[in-house]
Symmetry: C2
Subunit: 97 residues, 2 copies
């Protein structure tokens, strides 16, 4: 069964476009990796949301995602933006509906 | 079209059961409110996730959810737990797939 990656992003005011461009770049890379299934980027529509963007993606396994996340190629790609857009990824399963 | 509520929870180590009980109580209340559609509670399956639980729910409109969130009844229900389990709700729409 697929696992769910959820990744909330903090975006400083006025930096929304830049953050989206960063996300697009990372997403394009992710789409080509083994184990990737799908992704949905959520944008906040209320001013009181702490996280302006939240990505919810499906991956085949935790291992597939961790391998990509820890790869030098990915670190080089996202490194320059890590501090500008603090984000807090985790991998999840649904336990209540 | 429905809107998406996403609510990541920070859970201090050893407090997972207590946090789940708190969530169940809030969810039971939410399920009875006008505008509520559905909910899925996600539990982290990796140790490096900052948020142990993330709720993803559907509501008919932003107004429906805000009305409940700002109600005295809801504030009284969750008030005692607000500080123990910091959480960062927002309402979202999907902008990229």
């Amino acid at each position: 069964m697929a696992v769910i990656l959820i990744n909330p992003f903090e975006v400083p005011e006025g930096k929304e476009k830049e953050a989206l461009a960063f996300w697009e770049k990372a997403a394009d890379f992710m789409r080509q990796q083994p184990g990737y299934i799908s992704t949905r980027l959520h944008k906040a529509i209320v001013p009181w949301a702490r996280f302006h963007y939240i990505n919810v993606a499906e991956w085949e396994t935790v291992d597939h995602f961790e391998k990509v996340m820890n790869s030098e190629e990915f670190k080089n790609l996202v490194g320059p933006y890590m501090k500008e857009f603090p984000h807090y990824p985790g991998i999840y399963e649904v336990i209540r509906t």
